[in-house]
Structure formats: C-alpha cells, structure tokens
Symmetry: C2
Subunit: 308 residues, 2 copies
C-alpha cells in the first residue's frame, strides 16, 4: 500500500567528527521517503526553492518516489539547516535554521493524494499537520513525529494532532516534555490515553521502545564502530517502520509492529553510516534483509527454563 | 558450581523519590551474593564492624550464602555509604563515604575458598583484587567489576587485574574512561585486547551490551513504571550473570553467555523494585523464571524474510 508523507525537504550544512558537508540533501520528509521507498510506494508532499538541485529530484525519482506533490517556488530558497555533532555524536547542535520557502508552505493535497491509505506527518508545524488531516479521506493509518520546539510553542494545536493519530513517534526527552513524567513507561501510558494506539519512543544509540495496547517491545540499537552522520536517523527509522507496515498491509497487529520496529532500526543503522542520504544510494533489499538478521542475532537468546 | 565473591558489605543511608532509608544493608558483595545465591552456592569474603546487625547475618544464611569468610572486627565500624537519587533516578550522588573497617580490609582466603571455581572481584581497590588472584588456585572463571575512582587513582594496578580476568563488567562511562574511546564498540574491542574474553557494558535502564569473541549481544532493560531504589542494580546484574554461568557450568559458550546476560537483567530488574535487598527477601525461582519469559517477550520478533 502507498504512503503519503508531508514534511520538509532541505539543504543541510553539517559537521561531524568524520568531516564537513555543505548543501547536502536533508529534511525529515527526504529521509522518511527514501527509507520507506525500500518497502512501499511513497508520495512526497513538500516545497523547495529555485535553488534546489535537479540531481536531488532525480534521486527521488530513481527511488520510485512520487514527487508530483513536491512544489517548487522558483523565486524562493530551499529550507536550510546548519548544525554539528562535534561535542556529542548523539546530539545535534543547531547553528542556524533558514526557513526559506518553508515559511509559506501550506500543503494542498491532490485528489489522488487524499486517498492514500498510510499517512506520515513528519516534524512540521502542528497547524500544517492538522490541515493534512482535514484533507485526507479515511486513511487506514496515520503516524506522526514532532519536536521539542512545537511542544513548547504550539502545545494546544500539537495536542489536537496527537489525539487523531494511530502512531506517535517521540524521543525520550519529548516524551518527558509532553507528559511531565520522568519515567518513560508512565509517559507512554499517559500519551496512549490521548488517543494513539501505539507510542514509539526513539532512544538514539539505545534503540527504541514500542508501547502497544497490551505489549511492550524493545528494539535494540545496533552497536556500530563507525557513525559518520546521525542526521535523519529518526526519520529513516520512521520510514522503515511505516514502510514495512504499509508493505505488510497489516497495520497494528503485534507481530507486524515488532517487525516494523526492527525494520526502522535497520534503516536507521544504515542511515548513520554515511553523510546525508549517501548510504541509501547503494543500499539493496539484500543489505536490509541481512541487517535484519543481524538484529535478530544481536538480541536473540534461548527461551528454555532456567530452573528444572 | 560455587562462586567466591570478595567485596564490600555496607550500611547505606539513601534517599530516592520513593522515600528515605537509614542504615539499610548494602555493599557490592551483599548485592552480588544475594542475587547469585538464587542460581549457585556462594561464599562471601568481606569485613564488617561490631555495629553489624545479626539480622543481616541471618539474611545471608537464609539465602544459603557461606559467610565463613565474613570477618567481624568488634571494635570497628561497618563501611557506610550515604547518597541520593533525587535529581535523576539513574544516577547516585554520593554525600559521604565512611570506610570504617573496610580501610584495613586485607582478604585472607581459607584453603577451601582458594579452590572455588568461579571468582567475582567486586568493586574494591585493585590491590585487593590482585591479592585475591594471587591466592586462588586455577579458577575456572574470574570476573571483575570496578569504578571510576580506581580508574583515575590506581590505573596501573587496575590494568594488571583486567589483564588477568575472563569477564570485565563496566558501565558506559567507565568503558570510555578506561580506553579514551567515545564509541562503545571500539572501547570494548580495545579492552578485549588487554585479556578479557568477554566485556559486559552495563547501561542502566538501557540494559547491557555483551561483547564476546565473535558476537555481540544486546540485553534490553525492562521498562518499569516504578523504580524504588537503583542501588545495587549493577551488582545484582553481575550476580545473576555469574550465578547462571556457575549453575550451567559452561563458562564462556555463546548461548550460555546470552542467557547469563538476561539472568543478570532479570535480577537487576527485581533489585530496583524495592529498597536495599528487600525485594530479594520474597523473590522465588518462579518469579525469576517468569521475568525471564517477560524479557523474551520484550525483545522477541519474527525472523522470517521481509522481501520475497
């Protein structure tokens, strides 16, 4: 089944202990779409400026991503993020954010996009997330991401979005900010009370916790000796997660959710191996299959009794 | 098989968000012994003062722990730790450490203790850990723990101990301090180069990573809604880990190491549910068996292929 993603396509200037890159392809929707495209058809709704390189358009097309919803404003500039990971590879420090054309972004879905069964609301203004929800027609599944900025500045609107989604992706800190709970289990339980059937707490190198209706699943983080660029890991995670669910067509069944969390972890583990979306350019289904088995081997243990 | 543990038996004054307790039973060797005693016979070598309560002696005896090596110095005072977890349940802040009789502790093993096949060197001065290694007779397996204080103050002696053990338990931060490596995988690889066959990196609520000769295993942390007192969680983890290996008699085989890490996680997850060793007073083999299955359910996922 198809996935509709609405979010940012951006240029990133970034520096990590592995090096420095200027004007590379970034943005939550780019990372999500690319990751999800390995599993299911994806339609991308976003906006870029006249400075957006044709090569990136070709990259999306090569990944089979429908970019009929990628609006281009010739006189404007593409959203531009500048940041680094020099003090801690696990935490981005933002140096500058230039919204460019993103400031006036008002997603207008085509008739065809409104009927797409899986919807992912990437990290954008909750007002825009709501406007997408007003336009879509009875989707099978809606998932969303957000960030600390919206939690502090537009809490009421954000709350309305959360109440209408099936799956909420947050990180540890966002879960605490949203609920005022220091304990992640209590925080998840509180958030599920608001509406979502599934809460996914992303924990960076420590993996992710998935809270379902009557189960909890812990997806490990793959211990990697070389992390080149963590930018987009969370969106690649969500892309693998939702991509797998859309592929399996079995949205909220426990076994599929567990596999979805591992597919997300697999995609995030590849994402960080190179700058920008570079690792995704050569990635194959066989690589994904192999890393999925690596995750199994990483976390598997015998389930026989200990005491006779 | 039997386990010999050498370390501290202490009184703790502590405060957590759940409450305050004074002069409760603590110390690395108390926690390790109690946890390990659910799996294998344990001999405890430590020292206490004349102020040590008979009830704690009875507790160890009730757990079947051999305390013939628990020396008592009537004119001295038991090691006493005061700390709290008020700002962050995952980090102890030490307010005071009174060494008492521990200052003059020089472990003297009996002939019987020297022949015990499994040895655990709890977190004590590396000089004392070395002295124990000089006394034991060809043990089947030696494991050790340490702390940041010894890494900074007695690095050379500590290094000598590490070179002689089979299993090294450290936490994330200690791994980084010991190696100067920020990346835990690289740190583990460096430490394995020093001698240990297995490196276990404890990560608190995030579980543990086990690095073996040719595999890595990630044991999840059990997401608990109520954490009463994290004191001793690391030692309970090591106790379950080594306790299980001694029980299975199959020291460094991969499947047993994976199960050992889960047994450690199971014991740590119980340890934090109440103050001091209180949860251990009522714990049963059936509870352990059940929580082991909970860990399986927490981390299990289907291993069938994703792409046809």
């Amino acid at each position: 089944m198809s996935i509709l993603v609405v979010g940012s396509v951006a240029y990133d200037d970034l520096e990590t202990p592995s090096g420095k890159r200027d004007r590379v392809l970034g943005g939550a929707a780019s990372h999500f779409s690319t990751s999800a495209s390995f599993f299911s058809p994806v339609s991308l709704v976003a906006v870029v400026g006249g400075d957006f390189d044709e090569r990136h358009i070709s990259f999306f097309q090569k990944r089979g991503i429908d970019i009929s919803g990628l609006q281009m404003i010739p006189e404007g500039k593409t959203f531009h993020w500048t940041g680094h990971y020099l003090n801690d590879i696990n935490h981005a420090e933002t140096l500058e954010t230039r919204l460019g054309v993103f400031e006036y972004f008002r997603p207008q879905l085509t008739e065809q996009h409104r009927s797409i069964p899986f919807v992912f609301l990437a990290n954008i203004h909750p007002e825009l997330q709501l406007s997408v929800l007003e336009q879509v027609k009875a989707p099978k599944l809606v998932a969303m991401d957000t960030m600390n900025f919206w939690i502090t500045s537009t809490r009421d609107q954000l709350q309305k979005v959360i109440e209408r989604v099936d799956i909420l992706f947050v990180n540890d800190n966002e879960a605490k900010m949203l609920t005022g709970e220091k304990n992640v289990t209590k925080a998840a339980s509180q958030m599920m009370g608001w509406g979502p059937k599934v809460i996914v707490v992303k924990r960076g190198e420590h993996g992710a916790l998935l809270f379902g209706q009557d189960f909890v699943f812990s997806a490990p983080g793959m211990p990697l000796a070389h992390i080149v660029d963590p930018t987009g890991a969370g969106d690649s995670f969500a892309g693998g997660f939702i991509g797998y669910l859309a592929k399996s067509q079995s949205a909220l069944d426990e076994a599929h959710l567990r596999r979805a969390a591992i597919c997300g972890s697999v995609m995030a583990s590849f994402q960080v191996e190179d700058f920008s979306l570079d690792r995704m350019r050569t990635l194959t289904a066989m690589d994904i299959e192999r890393r999925y088995r690596d995750f199994k081997s990483l976390s598997d243990f015998p389930d026989t009794a200990i005491f006779e």
